[in-house]
Every structure is written in C-alpha cells, then in structure tokens.
Subunit: 348 residues, 2 copies
C-alpha cells in the first residue's frame, strides 16, 4: 500500500517535521508533493535522501493524492479545504480552522482513535481531521488516561509555551533577539508583539473580552471537552509564552471525582501509549523542555498530592510542540484513519 | 537622625541592590559598612558617589551599627546572628534561616508593618526581622489586599522564577550558557544543577519527600500563613525556574470565601501601596518581567473570572525579585522598624 502525500506549508517549522515524522515512522509514502506559497516555490527540501522541489499551492495541487497534511495557517486551510476534499484527498489540518466544527473529528490518536476514520468521505465523513491545539494535546496525553481512571472534576492549568507555537520565524526571533540582548544591542520584534529575549508574557492570542481569557486558554477548555467527548471537566487556564524554543511545559492542578493516589496515577501513565514517566526523586530531576525536544513521547513527572484540596494532584507535563503538539499527532491521525493502526513511536 | 548600616553580602546580587535602594529612598544612612567574605574584601563599591571598600565579615563587624542587612545565605546568617544582635544592631535577614522561628517577625511592610517593630530588642524582641521568600512577597502584594476584601479560601500558584533568585552567579550562568547555545558550543552548568539556556525546570530547591513539594513551594504556603497571620487559606504551588534574569512572574488561581468581581479586585489593588495595575485590554498588554525589572512596585493584571469555579479569579502578578523580592522589602522593613514609616517608592 502506497499513500500519495501532499504537505501544505512544507517550508514552515511544522512542515519540515512532517517529513521527518513520515520518514522515521516508515509511513508508506508513495508520491510526496511539497506545497507552499509562490514565494517559497522552487526551493528544495530533503526526504529520505532525495531532494524534492517545493511547488506553488493551487486548487489543482491535490489531484492524485490520498492525504494532505496542512500547516499553513487557518486562512490557507479554509481556502483549500474544498479543493482538497473534492479531490478525494484526506485533509489533516494543523490549524484551528475546523476544530470545533460539527462532524469534523478532533483527534489525539492515543485518546480517541475511533474518531479519525469517521472523517473519511467513504464513511460519509467530511474528509477532514482537525489536529488539536498543541497545549491541549500535550496536557491530554497525561490527563485522558487519568480521566478514564478517576474522572477529572476540575483542571487549573498554567502553561510555559515555546516559540515554535508561533512558527519558525518566532524561533529565529527568539534567538536573534537574545543575541542582541547579550550584545547590548537594540532589537525590534517583528514576529511576536513583545520583546522575547529573557522575557515572557501572557499568550499573544487575542483577548476574548466577554470572559477575559485569551483564545489559547479557551481552546484548551473547548478542545479538551470535544476530544474527551465529555464536557463535565471544569477547566481554567493561564497560557504564557516563555523563551524556550520548541517544547511546551504545563503545570496542571487536577481535581478528580474519585480518589486517585500518586502511585496509581504513575501506574496508569506508565501504561499509556506515547507517555514517558520521568521521575528521579533522588536526583530531583523531572521533565524539562530541553530534554523532551526532538522526542515523540510526552513526559510526565512531579506528580504529588495537592494538600490543599481533596482528590487533587499536581502534575507536570512537557511535550515537543512541533512533534506531539503538531506534526507527529497529524501523521498519527493519518495512520489510524488510512492504515487502521498507530505505528510505535520511533524516538520516544 | 542617622542610622549606621552594615551590609552583609555586599558584593552579591542583592547586596548591590541594598545600596541602590538605600540611596534612592533617602534612607538616613550615617556610616555604611560593606561586609563580605575574606575573598571579596578589598574590592570597592560605589555609594552616593563615594567608593567604599568591602571589609571582611567578622564577629566584631557589627559594633557601632544600628542596622545590618544580611544577604549572604542561611549559613552566614546563623553564624553571625548572635554577634549582630548582641551589638544592639537590628538584623534584617534575607535568608530563610529564621523565617519560621517563633518570635521572629516575617514582614512585608505594606501587609504587616506592625510586626516589624516587635523585632527591636528595646521592645523585648529578638533583634531580627526575617525577609520572606521572594515568590511569597510578590504573590502577597496582590493577594493580601484581596484577602482582606474577600478572604482567600484556596490558592493554586504556578511560578515563573528568574535566575536572580539563585544569585548573581546564576544570572551570569544564564547569560553565558545562552551565548554558548546560540554559538552551538558546549556549556557545563556550574551554578545551577541543570542546563538553563532556552530551558526551564521545576525549582531546584530540595524535594521534600513526605509531601512531594519542593522547599520553595512549601515556603510559599507556610510563609503566607505567617505573614497573613491566618492559616486558613489552603495553598498549593508549582515553582519553576525560567530563563529570565531578575523578575518573577506568577499565575495565581484564587478562590475566595466571599464573592469578588473583577472591577472590585482592580479597585482594591489600585489603592494598594506598592502595587501597579497593568491592564491594557485594547493592546492585549499585561505585566511582564522585562518591564518590571528595576521597578519597585509589583505589577498585577489579567484578572479574570475563573469560569470553572464559584468566587474564583485568575490573577497574573510580576515583581522584581532583587527589589521587592529581596533588597527593597528588607530596607522597607528597616524603615518601619527604625523610622516608623515607609518611604514612598521612588521608582514605582
């Protein structure tokens, strides 16, 4: 079986990771077409030892393809959805464009794999799978198994989000502005709205006036409910952009419906696919973004009893934003939808 | 009135700030004696245009002084407490050595100023005022006024703590390791236990086995209870070291006993001494460490209703760790104890 794959946004931070992930999971790629804006067309990118030339994205790009992995922003996803789906090509979309749309499955394959196949047009689906928000995926890799075990009643989340969530240009800006700061030189932010070197700020997504949350925080609540298929967990979040390159960390305070002790929580998470427990009490070492970067699994640790509230645990989770938060999850969605099973993580 | 002041740990990150703060608050300094380890003795530091030579700290150093500001670690504070107090010199101690000791007041002058004078030996006190943990001070600048207004029932805190909390050497290590990372060169951490460039990690204070919290998190709970004089608020925290130089940020989820709306919370905080409300909804701008660095006031913003729980607000607070988290608070303690009043913040 060979699957012809198109990558939309091939030159972006996630686009490059799509190729890495397809290769290292031995995804049965037939033809691979790299698509980007006119500006990037003509550049070449490597895939399995071959150089592939990036083509300009047009409405005709999807013919003859089985799968399109999109990561070029909501605008591009909305513009090309119809062309992609009408070509009979499964769209796995990394943007937020369709996540909350009825009938579009929002999938974390370790959590709700059965939803993925419902996207297929031959099953009467809309031909689109939405890839959830990165912070939501990373939190839920730890939380969904615990929710099944003891029922999440309430979650208070604080995030420590990396530059990569705002794309490759934001990663470069973090590096360039930091070098300028070290050299005592001025730097004017071009990608992010605020100075980033040795700084952090509440997430730069739009502030939603009615509730006071930013869009990122609302995504964490609404997408969690859709992925879990359960809107009972009450959720609040504070999302913060920190000067880290590509892995998100999250401090999760989780109140459960039923008692759950630390030992049992770890036992559940040690059995969870795609999760690594990182817990070295003697050395006082826990998951951290530098060590998680480049790895497929989400790492969980520092689970402890919250002494301030019954049935509550504090949990620390870290995941690579470009991999499980984006490219890896999207390729896994394609695996469960088109191949019927998840390949094991090659680089846990 | 002239007060003869000794600074213990004068060459450290907080030591330097003690001098800055004394100068800009027009503290009535008579003689100023700078004290440090034998290794640093002989160096000179500027104070109000004069160069002052650092002397080696000995048990005789405190004679003829009215006030000693200590910031040289718990060991030094314990070693020289008796010599200081027996010399009739008020000790304001920035270490954690005596914070929880009965009879030693733990003071944030805007919150419990009346406690400070109780330290004076002429009042039968022990001659020691303890300066609280930096994260605790910064959180309480926002929380104490709201506690008086509506009663804190439960606090879930997540911190984003700067390098300065681990001293000047940690600030230098953050800069040097970051430059090495940008240059693609190896760097071996010497001050902090973990790589810090573009990284973060759960706070490097000791893990307390019985509870699973680290020491910093336990300080936040216990010191809050002592400062508020109220052990009813239930508190949990996750303390994290982030790659920021000198200002701590904290995401506080606060459940109150009584209803408190956002407008009233801001009104209370706008009236609070030492607090600046930073709230620009149109520009989506809130307090951030780079803008707070070098400023005396703690900044508060992004207050919003937590839709997941009754009577609960999410609050974002940022304060300069070296100033309100350390040197400024200590000098203010001396002001209320020795001068009977707090000078206004010169650089809010």
């Amino acid at each position: 079986m060979a699957i012809n794959v198109a990558i939309v946004g091939a030159t972006g931070a996630v686009g490059v990771e799509f190729m890495e992930v397809l290769a290292r999971r031995n995804f049965p790629v037939g033809k691979l077409t790299l698509l980007a804006s006119k500006r990037s067309a003509g550049t070449t990118l490597p895939f399995k030892g071959q150089q592939i030339t990036v083509q300009e994205l047009t409405a005709d790009s999807f013919k003859g393809h089985d799968l399109a992995l999109f990561s070029a922003g909501s605008g591009v996803s909305k513009q090309y959805r119809q062309a992609c789906v009408e070509a009979g090509c499964l769209m796995v979309d990394n943007s937020s464009a369709f996540r909350m749309e009825d009938g579009v499955p929002l999938v974390v394959p370790e959590i709700n794999p059965g939803e993925a196949a419902k996207a297929l047009q031959r099953n009467g689906g809309k031909g689109v799978i939405a890839n959830p928000n990165c912070s939501t995926i990373i939190a839920l890799m730890a939380l969904a198994p615990l929710h099944r075990e003891a029922g999440i009643k309430r979650l208070v989340a604080a995030t420590y989000q990396a530059a990569s969530g705002a794309g490759h240009a934001a990663m470069v800006e973090l590096q360039e502005s930091t070098r300028a700061a070290l050299d005592g030189k001025p730097f004017t932010p071009k990608v992010l709205p605020l100075p980033y070197a040795f700084n952090l700020f509440p997430h730069n997504s739009p502030w939603i006036e009615a509730e006071g949350y930013c869009e990122e925080e609302i995504k964490l609540r609404k997408e969690t409910h859709k992925i879990l298929g359960d809107s009972r967990p009450r959720i609040t979040a504070t999302c913060v952009r920190v000067p880290v390159l590509r892995a998100h960390s999250e401090a999760l305070n989780v109140e459960f419906e039923r008692p759950l002790n630390v030992a049992r929580a770890y036992e559940v998470l040690r059995q969870a696919v795609g999760v690594t427990v990182r817990e070295d009490r003697a050395a006082n070492r826990w998951p951290m973004p530098l060590e998680v970067s480049g790895h497929d699994n989400v790492q969980v640790g520092r689970i402890r009893v919250d002494t301030s509230n019954p049935n509550t645990l504090d949990i620390w989770v870290v995941g690579d934003q470009l991999l499980k938060g984006a490219a890896l999850n999207a390729v896994q969605c394609a695996e469960v939808a088109l191949l019927g099973k998840l390949a094991p993580n090659a680089n846990p």
